[in-house]
Symmetry: D2
Subunit: 357 residues, 4 copies
């Protein structure tokens, strides 16, 4: 949170600004309890504002005569900012840490289709060394004619997976009305990329008592992503995980452009853990392993990977799901790269018999 005495905004006057133009800016700022410090450029004057940014943001500064630019210097997010919370947060879910110093694998089916498919995918996740299971009961589909998920029945299967493999779970929630039910069945509520600015949903998740994973909107700036986290944090939850999953650019050869630079950059700005979803970013099986490796190397605290026992029959995103033959060595490779960048597995390897149970 910005500290008292901090300069929050800078107003740059244009070359024709008069004394009275400058005084007008100062007056507006003082009228809402702020302080304005005028820098004595002979022609282009700069004014630094100290006080409450929220009030300043509602002032029509940019529209005052001879104001050239209004630059926000302070950052609009507070609770999630690293500035006054310099230690990195570790989110712990069912005994599994996500955050600094460790590397976590989240894996499972994109959508839960049947109990058998879910359990087999869960076994694959265990085999590749995963610590957390994924599996969606509500699907956010661009077409109203596509499979929309098993809803409550899917959540029950997810709970069974969790019990069977002794692992915490993450699943998507699509609307405020579903939050309570989802929170009864899963450990992490995931807000999808298309909902990153669905503020009523974010607020409801923040009140659920569960950890919240926020996927970056497909065209969200980093500041907007952090503001989404701020919406959740304001409800009292600090168990928030940011998930980069590719942004929309002019390049359409792959579904999205994975923005690996976001990981180290966002970590400078926030104390929250940052993870990567290589499956939904590339949209094609061949890209998942290379992108997962890049994710670990760039410093992501976890990767989240789709697996499916029979992707040919998947009801959703089959082309990107890893098969048994794709994962035999992947987990091991990821842990090796993690070691090279100073991260150890989130928890010790599970007994092999769990997976084959």
């Amino acid at each position: 949170m910005a500290k008292k005495g901090d300069i929050e905004m800078v107003v740059v006057m244009d070359v024709n600004a008069s004394e009275s133009d400058i005084e007008r800016v100062v007056g507006e700022v003082e009228a809402v309890g702020g302080q304005a410090f005028v820098s004595p450029g002979r022609m282009r004057t700069v004014i630094g504002l100290v006080g409450d940014t929220e009030r300043f943001m509602e002032l029509p500064l940019a529209t005052l005569p001879h104001v050239d630019q209004v630059i926000r210097v302070g950052r609009p997010y507070k609770l999630v900012a690293r500035e006054l919370h310099t230690e990195s947060s570790v989110v712990s879910v069912g005994g599994v840490p996500i955050g600094e110093g460790t590397f976590t694998i989240i894996a499972g089916p994109c959508a839960i289709e049947t109990p058998e498919q879910a359990m087999e995918a869960g076994a694959m996740a265990v085999d590749m060394g995963a610590h957390i299971l994924r599996g969606d009961a509500y699907k956010h589909r661009t077409s109203p004619y596509s499979f929309q998920g098993l809803a409550k029945r899917g959540l029950e299967i997810l709970k069974d997976m969790s019990d069977r493999y002794g692992m915490p779970t993450v699943t998507e929630v699509l609307e405020p009305a579903d939050v309570e039910l989802v929170a009864e069945h899963a450990d992490i509520l995931r807000v999808g990329t298309r909902n990153m600015m669905n503020f009523p949903l974010l607020r409801e998740c923040g009140r659920s008592g569960r950890a919240v994973m926020i996927k970056r909107g497909m065209s969200a700036t980093i500041e907007e992503w952090l503001m989404a986290a701020e919406y959740v944090a304001r409800e009292g939850t600090s168990d928030i995980i940011l998930c980069e999953r590719g942004i929309r650019t002019f390049e359409t050869s792959y579904r999205n452009t994975l923005d690996v630079s976001a990981v180290p950059f966002v970590k400078e700005l926030t104390h929250l853990p940052v993870i990567i979803d290589p499956s939904h970013s590339g949209g094609r099986r061949e890209l998942v392993a290379p992108l997962a490796r890049a994710a670990v190397a760039v410093g992501a605290d976890a990767v989240m990977i789709d697996v499916h026992p029979n992707p040919q029959a998947a009801l959703c995103d089959g082309p990107q799901a890893l098969r048994r033959e794709d994962i035999t060595t992947l987990g091991e490779e990821l842990f090796q790269i993690a070691a090279a960048v100073g991260k150890k597995p989130a928890i010790a390897a599970r007994p092999a018999d769990k997976a084959s149970a």
Copy 2:
């Protein structure tokens, strides 16, 4: 809707595909009741699929051996497509048409702040020749610390505006739970750019009995935008208005890049009316009039413009609201350009005394 016998998808095999690879594709297609027509390229074979696209989309065609590309040829939207509904739809709201042959002005305050501000802005709208009033009671703010709207009280003021000026209204709705209340107070429900893929909200709006305006998502492709309309149309409403409001690009000099090309292009694909919001696109007062002029010239069926009696005091988006002095000639100019492109005012000019009442 795609007609029987239509080729819906094209599968392109790579140069190393064998007969059995081709047969495998054919088999998958036939297994879901489709037909596959194989084009006899000696090396790169092309297969045209006829049948139910939804089933084809769930097949893992792209992941079969030696499949190089899977190209969807049919279009995924049906009810909103022009293909089988060649006549342009005109949405009529409280006696005001929006659509082919006419040009409509929607104007009013961005947010409703007080009864006085709302009524004054309404008078400005009338003065510039507007046919429909805008005014929001729920605001979608990126920051949880910003003004969020007057909610129910705002809707009541909007209703008063409507009564006072005898004009229908449009207002934003933010979540499914609010749809009923909003529908009681306004004529057109607006789904904002950040909610364009909030499918539960779209569905609820489709059931409201009101016309629905869908703003294009800030990084939505045209197909995604039309699929959002399809979600609404499936609930039984055909009174849908598409609103272009700028897309997010690398150019950050203005808030968004108004995509005027979308207007003629989308009109080829759909029978729905398409309008433009020049105020939120540019984000700066100086850009509103030029962009509004371009909107009419490119063929938009309406423009939606923010006005404010005192933008310096606006609680939301003040910098883009037009002032009294900005609108003296704008309406007239827009009608002149509309005439040059073959569109006449949506309804005859209102008696001047209404505005000054």
Copy 3:
């Protein structure tokens, strides 16, 4: 050009900056002859720099300890900036003005293919009321296997067109070595979108004695575009025309996204005329007329349109060229819209017999 005493940059220190960190910044600035004005934020200090930006830009300010942001306040272009050259420039070519108060049509074939094709296209241009002819002899093709233009022979045909119709011409130049030859044959040298940052070419064009048209790079920011103009202006030419032709975005339904907002925005920053090429932006015939209308309405000083007597046989960009039947009313419509926005035709209509000569 920035005036003496102007604040050129603002350095924002982070919350942990000490007195000595601030002094270090001041020291660096003073070491290159600048002045640093420190704004007394108690925690986050802001420093305004007065002096030579070029020197400041080469200082490693952003890398100094506890510097949070370095914001350039002055603008890097000088000769083309409106700041100290407030009157709009009108570029006059062979008696035809391009700039404030007038509206100019440039038309002709995309590529010059044969004398007959060129002359017929020229006649079409005259028929639609064009004032300047276009026609390229050198083509910039993405594929080395595509038609690359007639080179010198094409320039000669262009000259013949100019003589035949009594109109000045514009043509593209691809490399510095060709500038002299092209300048002997055409009135305006055009630097294409892929060459907007080909600085040796820009410089050579600036020395040619001809007017220079600079197309915006397909992902060029407005500042980069103006800096390209600055490269030309530094060579002594002030006859520079900026041409918006669509930018590259995530939307791939049309070749490019025409950025109409750039026209009014760029005109605030520069005194140079700004025009639009609706043909290359949309890439499809159906979009050319609507985009041309939007171009005039948004305030472009000219439009440049591809026409072809037989687009089916065009060697380059046939799909976007207008045919005889497309232009019968277009010129008239454009002049009508121009009138609505306060612009009159660049020169009085030509005698009809010229075209049919």
Copy 4:
């Protein structure tokens, strides 16, 4: 190169196409010596074209009546395509391989400023285990007022660096007229991001007898990038290296968005080596090491890194150059990650005394 009998394009007719519309397409194709195979969709017909794509591309297929879509199936690049050259190419420069199985470090100063600065930066490169030196004598600056490089004197210093450290070099070339001189002094000619579509320059580089490195244009699609390589390859050179350096997107927090997905994707399409420049992508020192690690992990054959003995005094891009303290462990980390993805150092470590010589 596409093989005989290959389907190169697919034409999709719209639902209203008649027999004669289909015959017209067939006729156009046969008129240029191609074959057209018609797929019997009852309503939407698909036609596969076999023959010479270059000829087909010049046909106005998309403008024929009732043609809905024209889809290119074959790929326009041939010499650089993996399709008929399935083995990965390894470019060998002065005994250093760049390509499959090995991992190469390229390092050195962004710009060559003085002999002392260059030699010290070279020593840093050796210390971090680099195999190839970088250093530019010609700088491509957006502002005409910025440092433009030492030109010939810079090339001589580069040659001295090469001799002193016994390492091959890479340097940028800006215009065709400079190619010969640059080729006399350096082992790899680099075409910069702003010149990726400067076809005269690409051609000249292809004739130079030197290896050519092509940086991806900042908004170049992957196909355009490969077409740039095709321009070079057509001149007879197969020693071509592709360098990803970040693309321009809506996210402006860092200079560019490093597109790591491009590495595995491009390697499917071409046999050429693909490397990454993490320094110019991020533009900030803090991002260089994480991005370099991600580059190795995603499968890049080399990374190219800016180092500077005193970045505070750098004349170009100082903020991104690594300092002595930044590189102590970086080389070792990169080799460790390379090992985890199956790549070994390009050549055995150099004797330590070389660096301290």
